[in-house]
Symmetry: C2
Subunit: 491 residues, 2 copies
């Protein structure tokens, strides 16, 4: 339907993005925020057609898509406001010290350059065309080049048209935002390898994200590639709590495993419990709920096929047995919810069981004691999230286990579910590899802006020639660290 | 003299460092600061022998080495104090919002794990064993494994013994600090590739730093490798200022090019001027001063040889002619100061002339007009620093040129020399590739601590089980962003 962008078109687009960068990076934070609010307003009022298009392309239900659009609008406004508030600039000023012969040095942040964004298949709005990466890059002062996800290319084009309209409305250069199509890997590769690309944002599979990361590092000038590549999101059940609150927790987890057909990067894929009888009630109720959950159509045929295969492969592993599978009739394009069990002993021996199964599937790992539970925590790779279910007393008793879990996750939840990522300043959505390619940054929350800027220090510049945020008078009323003290005062 | 560490010894050291990490990352910031001040105190009082050993190994003069030791002591204290002050934790708190069903989320930073540090040849104290990378990693809560630079292995061992003594004195696990020797690349590779290594700091050549970076990315679990790889530090001379202050500027630059035998990563290697007569006075005085600067022994024979070869190669390029060379008698191990000239036209055509020549050599690029000066700025790669020499009026007139220069540097100096990197919060020592492998971080100043930590968010934890810095009462009195507002108040 949409033709793949040619290498010549990519080169032209990147040059135009670069020219736009030289102008856009100099815009005030107020102007950037105005652009982001304008996009948000237009998207908020984009009507029914875009929702119906997304429904057709992704098989996600209307309410979910409307909620996701609202979340995307919220993100744009929240990150735009955060950009204008200015504390992300981490302003540092050391005034000259003639006694020690120290010069005046002042540090702010500057945009990296054009950012290529690869949207996700599972969030056609919130982590795609006008999603979190685009919002962060625009807030940072970087032009954005989005490659549409082929699975929802029409929706992507509609969102892109909205962004372009907003760019025009606030009178910024057109190439502040570019939208390209491409099914072939060659398009992705050409975008990452182009010398004028200065950073990449990606949300999707491990294989896809790692490939972009490798290309980014193989360039003559390596660039940061922020790939968010999913997780198994382990959940550790401590006996006291899981025994006393079995029903409530089973209800929550049946939802967390199957909501959105399990197509969330924060779906709880591994549940680790002590096999001393305390978990039996939870298992029983979870089983019943899973069996009564209808299968639903997945995002696209490729994902449905991959889910069926990966689930099947997991179930074939030594010691793995199905505990619950939906009994509601389904067809091949639908993700059939299932939960299986395995002993910790077998799990620790079998690397394959640590891989994410994207879809409504979860594996319960049964440990003979806390020592074995700690061993499971030790063999797990990096995760977006980890969760502990436990009473306060239990958690206190098992601080060592908590420390081990802390080592592998970006967000650590107590008594909750990992699905549902609140858009707020304190959020961390990013964890040690292979959850993401750079655990030092987040892709949710306004701190994600920092991915697309670098510090620059001005030494010995007269006040009037400095960027506004570094001038003595502090005309923008930003928080600044002046000679080691945090202050909003003028100098 | 020192034997290369064997693969078995490296594996053992990394496991010990990992065990130390699990304890050290949980130490309070106060304890880490105490360790760093203890190292600083012992180093400050380390006497004459260590200075004489360093003089023998590096051929650097006594006063310089004593000054460098003092700088190293200052860094340890400054970064330790900054660590304890806590603002580097970037604390963010969003309290629960029951109306919107948002959970309580609180974000702090956690140490990445064991950090391998490769010291530089040109700073045996300040960017080696107890240098900036080690100080930042210790402040962050990471154990450090230093591979001694073979060119000053004895000095390195003496400093390492001081650090180990300090670790013992404050009763921390021995393996918080490890010191290894190795001339073979195999030792470096094994250290970077070891699965328990979680980050790398390096200061040195482009080829060395890039190799470590590539290894770091080729691991099964890629890790951040912070290589600071030098620069040509371009200096742009605007006609008004260079004409009126020729003598003073020529004096400064003769010093900046030849001080420390030009063995600084911030040595001005390229000087860009308009060839309209305004620069003639500067050239003449610079020539005289260079001719009268004696050659000095370089750090080691390998560096002296590389300097002689690279300088010779630059001088053989089309259009390059020697403007000044020392006339003081020298021998082969000494770096002979020289300055050459070339037209902008030839410079732009010749990639080789953009490479760093490590030693007392600088190339003056003569432009026929400002357009050509901007073209030179456009072809330059990433730089640690860039400098403009100009009157306020001139700088104002040439904002476009300034914007171009801003795109390529981490520190932008007006009317000064790039050599001399002040240790302060506002410092940025790091620029776009190939100056460093990650322009988003600095290796000088306490902001360098951020290289070795990652954020972690705690969701829905009861107050008493949270890390101290995130508890409601704010017992450590840190600055925190609470529901979007910067404050030191309790919640």
């Amino acid at each position: 339907m949409f033709k793949d962008t040619t290498p010549e078109e990519i080169d032209k687009a990147m040059h135009e993005a670069w020219d736009a960068y030289l102008i856009y990076k100099k815009t005030s934070l107020k102007e950037r925020n105005r652009l982001m609010h304008t996009i948000a307003d237009l998207l908020e009022n984009s009507g029914e057609e875009i929702i119906h298009t997304a429904m057709e392309e992704t098989h996600l239900p209307e309410a979910r898509l409307k909620g996701e659009r609202a979340r995307t609008v919220l993100q744009l406004r929240q990150y735009g406001d955060a950009a204008e508030e200015g504390s992300w600039l981490d302003l540092r000023i050391n005034t000259a010290d003639e006694k020690s012969n120290y010069p005046d040095v002042r540090k702010t942040k500057v945009a990296l350059g054009p950012v290529v964004v690869f949207g996700s298949s599972n969030f056609p709005f919130a982590y795609s065309t006008a999603g979190g990466d685009t919002a962060c890059a625009l807030a940072a002062g970087c032009p954005v080049i989005v490659k549409a996800h082929p699975a929802h290319a029409k929706t992507s084009q509609m969102v892109a048209d909205i962004i372009s309209k907003a760019v025009e409305k606030v009178k910024l250069p057109k190439a502040v935002f570019t939208h390209l199509h491409g099914i072939s890997f060659d398009v992705s590769k050409a975008l990452v390898m182009h010398p004028l690309t200065k950073a990449v944002g990606f949300t999707g599979s491990l294989s896809g994200g790692k490939q972009l990361f490798d290309w980014g590092n193989q360039r003559e000038e390596p660039i940061p590639v922020f790939s968010e590549m999913g997780s198994t999101n382990p959940v550790f059940l401590l006996p006291g709590k899981i025994k006393s609150d079995a029903e409530e927790i089973a209800r929550q987890y049946a939802g967390s495993i199957t909501n959105g057909v399990g197509q969330f990067c924060t779906k709880p894929g591994l549940i680790i419990a002590i096999d001393d009888g305390s978990v039996d009630g939870f298992k029983e109720i979870l089983k019943e709920k899973i069996e009564n959950t209808a299968a639903q159509k997945m995002l696209h045929a490729g994902i449905a096929k991959a889910f069926a295969q990966k689930k099947e492969k997991a179930l074939q592993q030594k010691g793995v047995s199905v505990m619950a599978a939906t009994t509601v009739e389904t067809d091949i394009s639908e993700g059939q919810p299932a939960v299986a069990t395995v002993s910790a002993k077998e799990f620790i021996k079998n690397q394959l069981l640590r891989d994410e199964v994207f879809g409504p599937f979860s594996l319960i790992i049964l440990c003979k004691d806390f020592k074995e539970m700690a061993d499971v925590a030790s063999v797990l790779k990096g995760q977006l999230t980890a969760t502990i279910i436990g009473n306060e007393e239990e958690v206190k008793q098992h601080r060592d286990l908590c420390d081990k879990i802390e080592n592998i996750c970006g967000r650590f939840i107590l008594n909750g579910v990992p699905t549902g990522v609140t858009v707020c300043t304190a959020m961390q959505h990013g964890g040690p590899f292979p959850a993401t390619t750079d655990s030092r940054f987040t892709s949710v929350g306004s701190d994600g802006i920092s991915r697309f800027v670098r510090p620059i220090a001005f030494q010995n510049w007269p006040n009037k020639l400095l960027p506004e945020e570094l001038q003595n008078e502090n005309p923008l009323h930003f928080w600044r660290t002046v000679n080691g003290k945090m202050t909003k005062d003028a100098i």
